[in-house]
């Protein structure tokens, strides 16, 4: 069975593109969004497949992670309920989060930790994606 896709919402290309390379080498399809609005747009497109996992940065331009979560919950509660979301943040004030997410990975993170999360929610098929 194919692995489910991962959405990475992160404004720093150094981070998001590295993660993309990493997850693709592990066999996961990856979508990138530079901010919350781009992520919402992507989720609203009918061509976007069902996601297995979202990694979400908090501090981003245009729409930050906090706003993205409340928008997603308000506009697409079904997607919100069925998609595991992990916050990636260096912020100490993640306790400001009003909305409960699946989990949190602290920057700078360990790839192994991310790999475990991906394996758990998106599958472990080793076939690389081209």
């Amino acid at each position: 069975m194919d692995n489910k896709p991962i959405l990475i919402v992160e404004d720093d290309l150094g981070i998001s593109e590295s993660l993309q390379e990493y997850f693709e080498s592990k066999g996961y399809p990856v979508f990138l969004a530079k901010h919350g609005q781009a992520a919402l747009d992507l989720l609203e497109m009918s061509s976007t497949p069902k996601l297995g996992l979202i990694f979400l940065d908090l501090m981003m331009p245009v729409m930050d992670g906090f706003t993205f979560l409340s928008e997603l919950l308000g506009k697409h509660p079904i997607i919100f309920a069925h998609t595991p979301i992990f916050i990636m943040s260096a912020r100490a004030d993640t306790q400001k989060l009003q909305i409960k997410t699946t989990g949190l990975v602290k920057k700078p993170f360990e790839l192994e930790e991310l790999a475990k999360i991906a394996a758990r929610y998106c599958g472990t098929s080793a076939r690389p994606v081209n």
């Binding site: 404004d11 720093d12 150094g14 981070i15 590295s18 993660l19 390379e21 990493y22 908090l58 501090m59 981003m60 331009p61 245009v62 930050d64 943040s89 260096a90 912020r91 100490a92 004030d93 920057k107 700078p108 993170f109 360990e110 790839l111």
Partner: protein
């Protein structure tokens, strides 16, 4: 410390008032007189008294009635009272529970010495209390200032750690991925081209960290008043041309060619490193807020100094934000829209102020922004500190 005090004397007989005034008159005492209880109350509302001397027996409102009214009012209930009485009957029992407890009695005919010494005791007491109050006010203010400083520092630390962790996260990710590729023995992962790309990326992240740390150090120097300038004579036009030339790759890559219009030369005595920092900061802001659009940089001279103008075609700054952008941790757009510490323009302004220069912005939302720097040609070459 101000040692002037006000005394109020209340007596229905004008002669008594004059006698007391004569007795107590001193350079550092202002004596106000009231010939009735109601007049005394009026004066009590408008002045702060160290002490009130009240004749007990007055027509209309008696001295005790006046004291009762004083006791019932917040502004006056703490003021010490000396009752002046012709009867030997001790009025203490008539007037228990007076708030300050500072009630005393003088018997007529008045003895000049005892009147003076009693009044002096109360004045000293009052001055001591006043000094204490002033001290408490000062301390309360200092405490608020410190709490504010701690809040600003905490907020700064939170932003700074986020900003530092972003490039660190990127570097750490790269390192982990390279290790993994080495382990997998993938030869294609380390071709010279890929290695060059990796090192370029690493360098960029490292520069970003170094830049953030420089900004943080500048901020700490500025707040301690230790921003020091090293003056040297140089040509500002040349510096600006060099700076743009040296960094032209960056500007071209961002799609922001810099169009320079400088005069022949503008020689003066400034801190070369700091002025370079100012110009570079303004140019990088122009790139950041107006990517893909050219930047206009102009240097002109006047009899008094030099003017540097940096104009971008970016998103512009609303008029109500023109003052705010030069403050610490501020930027025109909201907190998380643009990364960085929000310190650039604050540092720029501080550097210019130590040079006795200035910076201002002309802009409207959507119309691009023009930053105008005025620098006097300083004669002195000695070190100047901020603060």
């Amino acid at each position: 410390m101000n040692t002037r005090v006000k005394l109020l004397i209340v007596d229905d007989l004008k002669d008594n008032l004059l006698a007391l005034e004569g007795l107590l008159g001193r350079d550092d005492i202002d004596i106000l007189k009231a010939n009735s209880g109601s007049e005394a109350l009026k004066l009590l509302m408008g002045h702060e008294f160290a002490l009130v001397l009240i004749d007990v027996k007055m027509p209309g409102m008696s001295g005790f009635e006046l004291a009762e009214l004083m006791r019932g009012t917040n502004n006056t209930k703490e003021i010490p009272i000396i009752f002046v009485s012709a009867t030997a009957r001790h009025p203490n029992f008539l007037f228990k529970g007076y708030e300050s407890g500072a009630v005393d009695f003088l018997l007529k005919p008045l003895d000049a010495h005892s009147v003076k010494s009693k009044v002096n005791v109360f004045i000293r007491l009052y001055l001591g209390q006043r000094a204490q109050k002033e001290l408490i006010t000062e301390l309360t203010k200092a405490k608020l200032d410190l709490e504010q400083a701690v809040r600003i520092r905490d907020e700064f630390m939170s932003i700074a750690s986020h900003e530092l962790k972003t490039p660190l996260t990127s570097l750490k990710l790269q390192a982990q991925m390279r290790k993994q590729k080495l382990k997998e023995g993938d030869p294609l992962a380390f071709t010279p081209e890929r290695l060059t790309k990796m090192f370029d990326g690493d360098e960029k992240q490292i520069e970003r960290i170094a830049h953030l740390i420089d900004d943080m150090l500048d901020i700490s120097r500025i707040s301690l008043g230790k921003l020091t300038l090293n003056f040297e004579q140089f040509d500002l036009c040349e510096l600006v041309r060099d700076l743009v030339e040296r960094n032209s790759d960056q500007f071209v890559a961002a799609g922001c060619p810099v169009k320079i219009d400088t005069c022949q030369s503008a020689v003066g005595s400034w801190d070369r490193f700091r002025i370079e920092q100012v110009v570079m900061n303004l140019l990088m802001n122009a790139v950041r807020y107006g990517p893909g659009k050219s930047i206009f940089l102009q240097v002109t001279t006047s009899p008094n100094g030099v003017r540097i103008v940096v104009r971008d075609q970016g998103q512009g700054i609303a008029v109500e934000n023109h003052g705010r952008i030069f403050q610490r941790f501020e930027r025109a757009v909201s907190g998380s829209e643009v990364s960085g510490l929000g310190l650039g323009l604050y540092i720029v302004k501080q550097i210019l102020e130590v040079h006795q220069g200035s910076i201002r912005v002309e802009s409207e939302l959507g119309q691009g922004a023009t930053f105008i720097v005025d620098l006097p040609r300083l004669e002195q070459k000695e070190e100047i500190h901020n603060g």
